[in-house]
Amino acid sequence: MIKTIGQISVWLLIGLVVWMGVDMAVRGASGFHFGYLFEAPADMGRSGGIATILVSTALIVTLAVVLAVLFSLPAAIIYTEFQRDTRFWRLMHIILDIGVGAPRIVWGLFGGVLFVGYFNLGFSILSGIITLACLLAPILVTGFIVGLQATDPALRKQCVALGLTRWSTLWNQVLPAARPSLIATAVLATGRGCGDAAALLFTAGVATTLPTSLYDSGATLAVFVFHLLTVIPGGQTAAYTAAAVLFVIMLAIQWMITAANGKGRFAH
């Protein structure tokens, strides 16, 4: 009984993924043409290519991940080095959990009012980067902490026995040992950033022109798809083609995570 239901569910899920892939490929192909990846969108995104969108996506996601890592890695290091079972660290843990659970749209609201309005950055790539970095930071911190804690405890003991300082142990031994998992976490965050529409819609805006500075508005691929589906009449065909490209990017990122983890998805 359980075996049969399980078998059906498994095939259902596998079929679903294949179905989605084929659906994206078939419907996406109708809008795909030579030079799709190298042309700017025309007619509000209904025709033309997605070159400018790809530029904005790369710019926003890369800078946001770099910015978030810059703050998250120190946070994770301090957490693993100094945390004790005290009230302060329990509070930190709860705060991080809340941060991970905060929906993208709530970050979007926060960034949209604070950075776009209050700090007067406007609908700009810069607002988008900062908002996205805020969204990614808790995810990165949690991932980094897991990675750092998964290193062999014997490593630290050996370093202490050799008389290495805490900093030297960390920099020369622990971080290199944890590197595959740290990289996997960063790539995962890149994927989250590429797929995000809710947080960037109200911060980076929906402009489809080539951004010339960080103060220009620029839509990422996911925002572009969402905009085509909800605002632009007759944008569904073009949305399919863009979504197919997004699908392929996600597959590539997924493959990179598996490769970075090395041991497959059940490593942790």
Partner: protein, 262 residues
């Protein structure tokens, strides 16, 4: 230096929370409290009853969770108890792929294949939300079930128990991991905006299986760019409500990051 950089991520989260609370309080000064409990959400008529939206969010999440439990539990039990390693690998890749898809892609697919069957409705919204959370839930379930000691299963089988008992014993042993996966799935479903917005129909009314529904998140994403004044304030109350719901659910069961030092 390191410490000041490290303080930023938690500070931003605290800032987010404070921002939502402050904005909600200032919104409460503009909107009469009785208005919030009205059974109507109509910003053009100055009615900001959050009750319908709250019910929408909870209904969509609960329905999605039921679907997820059905599919996720049976899949993970089958994969850990019966499937050949090759099958596990294939399913694993499929689940990883499905889980990594952005919500717009899932929403677009649901718009073309689910909406024609069920309309822009609560059912479509629940199915779409389930699609978003099934992969993570199943993967976490599989790793929870894998941690059950092998000799437990061997003993059960040696006693000649039926498949049903076997599954129950193993689930019983892995229940903490399963509950944790379920809580994570619930918090993701509560916060999902884009995919649900595309299929839900977004009309604030009591939940009907085949009628349109609006949730807290879909209202936020649909109305944020046109909202001003009291309407904008009301949206902040919605955001605070989602955060409170998710925080409640996730505090209910948290993975252990803090380890006792040895």
């Amino acid at each position: 230096m390191l410490a000041s950089l490290a303080a930023v991520p938690p500070l931003m989260v605290v800032l987010l929370g404070m921002y939502l609370v402050v904005c909600s309080i200032s919104a409460l000064l503009q909107i009469p409290v009785a208005e919030l409990f009205a059974v109507q959400w109509q910003p053009s008529g100055d009615s900001y009853g959050v009750l319908l939206l709250l019910t929408g969010t909870v209904t969509v999440t609960l329905m999605a969770l039921v679907l997820t439990l059905l599919i996720g539990l049976s899949t993970s039990l089958y994969l850990t108890l019966y499937a050949r390693p090759k099958m596990l690998q294939v399913a694993n890749t499929a689940l990883g792929t499905l889980g990594s898809l952005p919500s717009v892609v899932i929403g677009l697919w649901a718009m073309t294949w689910v909406v024609p069957l069920f309309g822009n409705s609560l059912s479509s919204a629940a199915i779409t939300a389930a699609l978003m959370i099934v992969p993570t839930f199943t993967l976490l379930c599989i790793s929870a079930l894998k941690q059950v000691p092998a000799n437990l299963d061997e003993n059960v089988r040696a006693l000649g128990c039926s498949d049903r008992i076997r599954a129950l014993v193993i689930l019983q042993h892995a229940r903490q991991g399963v509950i944790r996966a379920l809580v994570l799935a619930a918090s993701r479903a509560l916060g999902e905006a884009v995919a649900i917005y595309l299929v839900a129909g977004n009309i604030a009314q009591w939940p009907e299986l085949f009628g349109p529904i609006a949730t807290l998140t879909t209202t936020l994403i649909g109305e944020l760019d046109v909202a001003t004044g009291a309407h904008r304030g009301a949206l902040h109350i919605l955001a605070l409500l989602i955060m409170l719901l998710i925080t409640l659910v996730s505090l209910f069961c948290r993975p252990k990051l803090i380890r006792k030092r040895t």
